[in-house]
Every structure is written in structure tokens, then in C-alpha cells.
């Protein structure tokens, strides 16, 4: 009846190669073509994603209305000063209109929104981040690049250390648990997994309550003590003290679920027949773990590691707000509050590129670590 039905397997096998003499193309050529196509697809996704963000950040042009109203208000405020009071009404209105027109032109509001959205897409994709509209970096620069670069170190410092601690801790604990499956400790960890339903800011509030408010041993928030200590080592020590609570909050928020997931993964793989076979051959536990359990679970481990590293870029808005941490998440939040679209788009486009590159790299890393995956043959692996 439904003649158009094609089983997915045959469809996928035919798709990458067309029949004919070209079938004998070398692996390298196929690899290059696959890489090019994949890059193109990811780039297109990035273009669409970034353009959507531009549309949302401008509310489809609605933000322009807000900006115009703001300009009119600011100019009205400016022209209320004494130097304008002496001018006749006619002249004052002229001055005012001129100032409004000047500001409208500076922000490019005199051009239609569709055109400007295309320009900002072009600028964003070429990483020409431009100048912010309202925000300045602490050093006083209006370049989006400088504003972002200023917030990058605190963000990297906090989230990278938290992600690394969480990742390795979860992996090692999970491996240890899968060795002693069914023990009391194992059961406790499984029972703790649902606690990850709460986000890290939630644990942040509790940690502040216990360690800052009740015990008074750690600071409430901020990155360094105020005023910042002069000597380098004292400064570093102060930053470390301020780092403890936010890092613990992030780790607490995700650790137990992570442990549970890895543990289940390891258990599934250690019940495979070839593991039984290796046991029967008398291989040591460590060797089995390394060869037959860790090896096949390597691709998901790498994926989750790389994806967790990119999340560092977006930061965590609420966590940074609660801890007063000057990271990228807060920057984004402030930018949204100030309708500063260049900053928003700058952050978003870099994220899109980071994500695209990571996904692209993952395809190849998969092929390197997992012999079952062949680059270029469209498996379902993503």
C-alpha cells in the first residue's frame, strides 16, 4: 500500500554514497567530504540559532520601541537644564528633536528592523562583536569584546573547577560503586540521586545559610574580600575562600545524579557476555575494568565531559546572582535587563560556535575511541 515506505537502514546506507564509479573513492576523500558536510550543517544550525536569538533579544523589533521611548525620555531630561531654560520654546524643541535624531542614528534605529537584524547576524557570525549600547566594562571600555573578556576569568575559574571536580569525583565514585554493587554505600548513593532534582542555586542558599549566616566561617558571596587584599598570595587565598561555597553548590547540585548515571552505565556494560568471558579466562578485575568496561563507555564519558565544559560559557545566572559572582551568567542577565542586544548576541554567538566545534570534534573522537563507529557512515551516533 504505502509504496513510498523505505526502511530506514537501506535509506541511510544509500544516502552518503551514490552508486557508480565513484564508489572506489578513498577513505580520506570520504572523510573530508563528510567533515565538510557536517561542518556546513552545524554552521547552518548556528546561523538559524543565532538569528532566532537576535529576533528574540529584540522581541521582533519591539525592543526598538522601548529604546525610542527611552531616548525621548532621556533627551527630555537633558533639555530641562538651565542652559536650555533661556531658549525660546521653538528653539528648545528644535534642539530636542536634533538630539533625539542624533541618538536614534547612533543606535541605528533609523533603519528598518529587518535590515538591522541581518546586519547584526552578519556581524555576529564574523565575530565582529562591536560596541555595547549601555554597558561598560569595569575598566570603562564599551567594546563587547572587552566586556566579555573581563568577566571570562571569574566565570572560567568557578565553573571549570566545579565541573572538573564533579566530573572526576562522579566517575571514580561510580566505578567504585559498580565494583561493590548492592552494598550499603551503593544503596545510599542510589537513594541520594533524586536530590539532584534541585538546581545548584538551591543548594547555594542552604550552604550560605549554614556556613555564612549560622557558622560565619565562609563569606556570603562576592569573589574577593572587600577591599581586596594587596599582596598576591592574600588575594589568591581570599578568592579561594570565596570559591568554596559556589563550587560546593554546583557539585552538590549534580554529583549524585551523575554518580547514579555512570554507575548504571558501568553495571550495564559489566553484565555483557564478553565480560563474563574475561572473568572466566581469569583476567584480573582491574584489567577487565580497563579493557571491557571503561573502553566501551568511553564515548559517552567523553561526550558528557566535553558538553559539561561548554556549559561553562553560559554560566549560571541564578547561582552567580546569589553568590554575587561577577561571571558571564550575570553579565548576560544584566545585558538583558538593559536591552543591550550586542552583549547578548556576542555571548550567544560564541556559545553557538563553541557548541558547533565540540559536536563536530565529538564525531571524530567517537571514531577514534570506538571501533564500531565509522566516520562518514551515517550511524545514529550523535
Amino acid at each position: 500500500m504505502s509504496r513510498d515506505y523505505v526502511p530506514p537502514e537501506t535509506l541511510q546506507q544509500e544516502a552518503p554514497e551514490s552508486p557508480g564509479p565513484k564508489r572506489k573513492e578513498t577513505d580520506l576523500w570520504r572523510l573530508a567530504r563528510y567533515a565538510a558536510l557536517r561542518l556546513l550543517a552545524l554552521f547552518l544550525a548556528a546561523v538559524v540559532g543565532v538569528y532566532l536569538m537576535i529576533l528574540i533579544a529584540n522581541m521582533g523589533g519591539y525592543v526598538d520601541e522601548i529604546r525610542r521611548a527611552e531616548i525621548t525620555m532621556n533627551v527630555a531630561e537633558m533639555t530641562r537644564g538651565p542652559e536650555f531654560a533661556e531658549l525660546p520654546e521653538e528653539q528648545r524643541r528644535e534642539r530636542r528633536d536634533a538630539l533625539i535624531a542624533q541618538e536614534v542614528e547612533r543606535l541605528g534605529l533609523d533603519q528598518p528592523f529587518v535590515l538591522r537584524s541581518i546586519y547584526s547576524l552578519r556581524d555576529a557570525l564574523t565575530l565582529d562583536l562591536g560596541r555595547s549600547e549601555n554597558m561598560t566594562s569595569d575598566a570603562g571600555s564599551r567594546h563587547v569584546r572587552h566586556i566579555i573578556l573581563e568577566r571570562l576569568p571569574p566565570s572560567l575559574f568557578l565553573f571549570l573547577s566545579a565541573q572538573l571536580i564533579m566530573f572526576f569525583l562522579a566517575l571514580f565514585i561510580a566505578l567504585a560503586l559498580s565494583r561493590q554493587y548492592g552494598s550499603t554505600l551503593d544503596k545510599i548513593m542510589v537513594a541520594l540521586a533524586p536530590t539532584s532534582a534541585a538546581p545548584s542555586w538551591f543548594y547555594g542558599i542552604f550552604l550560605i545559610l549554614i556556613f555564612a549566616a549560622l557558622l560565619g566561617v565562609l563569606p556570603f558571596g562576592r569573589m574577593v574580600a572587600a577591599p581586596p587584599p594587596g599582596e598576591t598570595w592574600a588575594y589568591a587565598l581570599s578568592v579561594l575562600r570565596h570559591l568554596v561555597l559556589p563550587v560546593s553548590a554546583i557539585v552538590l547540585g549534580g554529583l549524585f545524579l551523575s554518580i547514579y548515571n555512570w554507575r548504571t552505565y558501568f553495571l550495564i556494560y559489566s553484565s555483557e557476555d564478553y565480560v563474563e568471558m574475561a572473568k572466566a579466562k581469569g583476567l584480573s578485575g582491574r584489567k577487565i575494568e580497563r579493557r571491557y568496561i571503561l573502553r566501551p563507555t568511553l564515548p559517552p564519558i567523553i561526550t558528557s565531559f566535553m558538553l559539561s565544559i561548554i556549559t561553562v560559557w553560559m554560566g549560571q545566572i541564578v547561582l552567580e546572582e546569589i553568590f554575587n559572582w561577577p561571571g558571564l551568567g550575570r553579565l548576560l542577565y544584566q545585558a538583558i535587563g538593559l536591552y543591550d542586544t550586542p552583549v547578548i548576541i556576542g555571548l550567544v554567538v560564541i556559545y553557538a560556535y563553541l557548541l558547533g566545534v565540540t559536536v563536530f570534534l565529538l564525531d571524530f573522537i567517537y571514531a577514534l575511541v570506538d571501533p564500531r563507529v565509522k566516520v562518514g557512515s551515517e550511524g545514529g551516533q550523535t
Binding site: M1, S2, Y5, V6, P7, P8, L11, A41, L42, L44, A45, A46, V48, G49, L52, M53, I56, A57, M59, Y62, V63, I66, Y181, V190, A191, A193, P194, T195, S196, A197, A198, P199, F202, I205, F206, I208, L209, A213, F220, Y260, T264, L267, I268, M314, I317, V318, I322, L332, Y333, I336, G337, Y339, I344, V348, Y351, A352, L355, V359, G380, T382
Partner: protein, 448 residues
């Protein structure tokens, strides 16, 4: 479906699932109670109400439960009204128009701690000439302190605890402490327990004029959940936050899981360009950070909970879950019974809805249950960023108020703790059930 039911019966063997179900049950009971006891319009009115609605509540005090702690004896709010005890009102006609009156308002104070605030409200009914009053305070040991004198209008508030002159005459002690202290020199001051009296004497200058007074000794504790910076009873938000959180989480989870599932099934069945588009959209949505989009929508467009709900559903449709369903449907598509259905001539949509989707329901159920707490917390996250619904009382908005007013710095722990406990209970309840369901319904996890 029978198999599903049989498997759900296994839930009883998982203690965490039982605990989770009990928590969810309690939350549902609480929601029903909230909706019945306080009608929606009333809840909104109370929560948005200012001083007018909440004038009789103290500001920022913990729940009455703290009095259970050893060594804590905090006063509750006392409201005395001259209209309640008309026998304590003396009137004497002096001339044709002028009436002299004395109102005494006695009360017993037996608490170990001082009140939080002290206010008196006078109301008078007159045509042209305002009544004149003198107010004095009589302590249990007989000492009499002049508080104020003057003319009163139809509604005069006298904030005793903010009376600077009175404070000076009380050796600089805040009036709510000085007026109750045994010894003004003592450090720290001790409460003098016993019979107090607020005495108001005055003159009415018209024949039909009348006067009444109200004294409020604001307590140091209030109700089940305490009060916030606007004197509001937090229990209203806690109570009404429950049905809002549950229905928000449930609707968003239902909306996104069902649409995701249908799209995945349709994509897999029709393959070709339909599947291609869905796959591409999934890649695009990876770039859109949901929270960032929501913050933008909230800041720039609307903070209404319904708009947020819609945006969350749309963002969730093309999330990572669609890939899980896709690979699942890929397998189901190959199953012999689907082949059979096709050979007897079932139409495409019939196959999608009657043959593919029902088989994926067991995988959907745990996904769905674990999605709910994530969405409940998402709502709280938005509220914490000041993007909560402008009208509704929710747990997240209580947390936001607490955070914005430095509750943790100032030691108002109850303000943070009560909404947090409800949030984590909801989170734990659903995710404990979800984890158990996952282990029962997901064949690869059986017995692990």
C-alpha cells in the same frame, strides 16, 4: 496496557517510590485545601494587598512554632479595641456640646520578650470640630507615662514605636521596649509582666460625635509561617504556591512530552524531509539556552505564567529527549507487528498513533515524572530573577522577596526555609517516584 498496570504494581516493592507517592499525595491534598479555603481572587487580593490589608500583622517575624524552642517566649500580636469593652468607657456631659470621656484599655502582658512594634489607631466621627485626646500608659507598678495629646481626625495613626520624643524620655530605649521594661537602666532590659493599661481621656465638641481607639502590640511571632517585609502572612503564598507549582509542572511536562513524542514518531515514520527538519530543529535548539530565552521573554515581553508555560513547552519539544524517542521508534518501526499492520493496509497516521506511540509509553512515564520537578524549580528560578508572575503568590516569589531583602544576612531564616522545604519536598517526591519507575519500566535497568 495490562503489562503496564502489572508493572506499576511493582512500585510497592520500592520504598523510595512509596515515599515519593506519599509526598505527592500530601502536596495534592494541600493544593485542594488551598483552593477550597482561600478562593483564587481572595488569594491574589491578599498577596497584592499593602498596609491596608495587613496593618494588623507584625513585620518580618518568624512562625509561632519558634516558641516551642527551649528558652524562647516571644509575644503574639495583641489587638485591643475600645469597642470590644464598652463598659470601660466613661462619659460625662459637661455642657450642651462638650462631652468629657475616659477610655481605659487594660491588658495583661506575660511574655518573656518585648513586642516588635506598638501602634495606636484612633478614629473619630464628627462634623466640624475635631475631638481632643490625651493618651497615657500605665505600667503594672503604677508608673504613668504621658504618650501624646492632640486633636484626632476620622482616622489618625499613632506609631508609638516611632515616637522620637517618647524614646528620648525613655532614656533612649525604643518605646516598645521602654514602655515594657522593668528598669530603664538595666542592660539588657527585662520585661515587666503584669497588668498594663492604655488610658485615653479627651473631649468631644459636638453632640453626635464619637470616638474609638485601637491598640496593637505587634508580636514577635505570627501564624504558621511568619510574615514578610510587607507584613504579609507568608502561609498564603506557601499554601497557594502548591497548586500553582504542581499544575505548572504537570502542564508543562504533559505538553512537552506528548508533543515531543508525537513529533519523534511522525519523523521516524515518514522519514525523509520530515525527519530531516525535526533533526535540524533539534540541532538549532541546542544553541538556544532555555533559561536565557525565558529571561528575555520575561524581561522584554511578559511575565505571565501562561506565556512562560508556552515558551517552556516550545523550548522543551526539541530538547535532547527527542533523540531518545527517535532511536526508540527506529527500533519499534522494524517490529513485525508494524510490518503486519502495514501489510493489511493501515494508514500512516493510524500506524503512528496506534502502533508506534503506545509502545513508547513505558519509556515516557519515568521521563515525564522526572521532568515535573525540573519545571517546578524552573518556575522558582524565574521568580528568583524577578520574573515571576506579577499576580500569583508562588514559592519562588517568597524566595525572591527573602533574597532581595537580605533575609540570610538579617537572620530571617524562616523566610528562606519554608518555601525551600516545600520546593525540595516536591522535587524529591516526583524524582523518587520517577527513579523507581525508570528502574521498573526500563528493561535495561531492571534489577539494578
Amino acid at each position: 496496557m495490562h503489562a503496564l498496570k502489572r508493572r506499576l504494581n511493582e512500585l510497592k516493592e520500592y520504598p523510595s517510590a512509596v515515599v515519593g507517592l506519599i509526598i505527592i499525595g500530601l502536596l495534592i491534598v494541600l493544593s485542594i485545601y488551598a483552593v477550597i479555603s482561600i478562593p483564587y481572587a481572595e488569594a491574589v487580593r491578599l498577596w497584592r494587598g499593602g498596609e491596608g490589608v495587613w496593618i494588623e500583622n507584625p513585620r518580618n517575624v518568624p512562625p509561632a512554632l519558634v516558641n516551642m524552642l527551649p528558652g524562647v517566649d516571644r509575644p503574639e500580636t495583641m489587638i485591643l479595641s475600645s469597642q470590644d469593652q464598652p463598659e470601660l468607657k466613661e462619659r460625662e456631659q459637661i455642657s450642651e456640646d462638650v462631652t468629657e470621656f475616659v477610655i481605659s484599655m487594660p491588658f495583661t502582658y506575660e511574655y518573656g520578650e518585648f513586642p516588635r512594634e506598638l501602634s495606636a489607631f484612633f478614629s473619630a466621627d464628627y462634623e466640624d470640630t475635631r475631638p481632643f485626646i490625651e493618651v497615657s500608659w500605665i505600667k503594672p507598678d503604677g508608673e504613668e507615662i504621658e504618650l501624646m495629646d492632640g486633636n484626632v481626625t476620622d482616622r489618625t495613626s499613632y506609631r508609638i514605636s516611632q515616637d522620637r520624643g517618647l524614646q528620648r524620655s525613655l532614656d533612649g530605649l525604643r518605646p516598645q521596649i521602654g514602655l515594657f521594661a522593668r528598669d530603664l537602666e538595666a542592660d539588657p532590659p527585662q520585661v515587666q509582666t503584669g497588668e498594663y493599661e492604655l488610658r485615653i481621656s479627651g473631649y468631644l465638641f459636638e453632640e453626635d460625635a464619637s470616638f474609638s481607639a485601637e491598640l496593637i502590640n505587634y508580636g514577635q511571632v505570627h501564624g504558621l509561617a511568619g510574615t514578610d517585609h510587607r507584613r504579609r502572612d507568608i502561609s498564603i503564598a506557601l499554601l497557594w504556591g502548591t497548586p500553582i507549582a504542581l499544575s505548572f509542572g504537570f502542564l508543562a511536562a504533559v505538553g512537552s512530552t506528548i508533543i515531543t513524542m508525537v513529533l519523534a514518531a511522525v519523523g521516524v515514520w515518514y522519514s525523509r524531509w520530515v525527519d530531516g527538519i525535526i533533526q535540524k530543529l533539534t540541532e538549532v535548539s541546542l544553541i538556544l539556552n532555555p533559561l536565557v530565552v525565558l529571561v528575555m521573554v520575561g524581561t522584554l515581553y511578559s511575565r505571565s505564567i501562561w506565556v512562560m508555560l508556552g515558551v517552556i513547552i516550545v523550548l522543551n519539544i526539541f530538547s535532547g529527549a527527542i533523540k531518545i524517542y527517535r532511536s526508540l521508534f527506529m527500533q519499534i518501526k522494524q517490529a513485525p507487528y508494524v510490518e503486519a499492520a502495514r501489510s493489511y493496509g493501515a494508514r500512516n497516521l493510524r500506524i503512528v498513533f496506534r502502533y508506534l506511540i503506545p509502545r513508547a509509553v513505558p519509556v515516557l512515564v519515568p521521563q515525564f515524572v522526572t521532568l515535573i520537578p525540573a519545571l517546578v524549580f524552573l518556575e522558582a528560578t524565574l521568580a528568583l530573577l524577578g520574573l515571576g508572575d506579577p499576580v500569583l503568590p508562588t514559592w519562588g516569589k517568597v524566595l525572591e522577596d527573602a533574597q532581595a531583602n537580605g533575609a540570610l544576612y538579617l537572620g530571617y531564616y524562616y523566610w528562606v526555609l519554608s518555601p525551600s522545604i516545600l520546593l525540595i519536598l516536591t522535587g524529591l517526591g516526583f524524582s523518587m517516584l520517577g527513579f523507581a519507575l525508570d528502574r521498573i519500566l526500563n528493561p535495561r535497568l531492571r534489577g539494578m
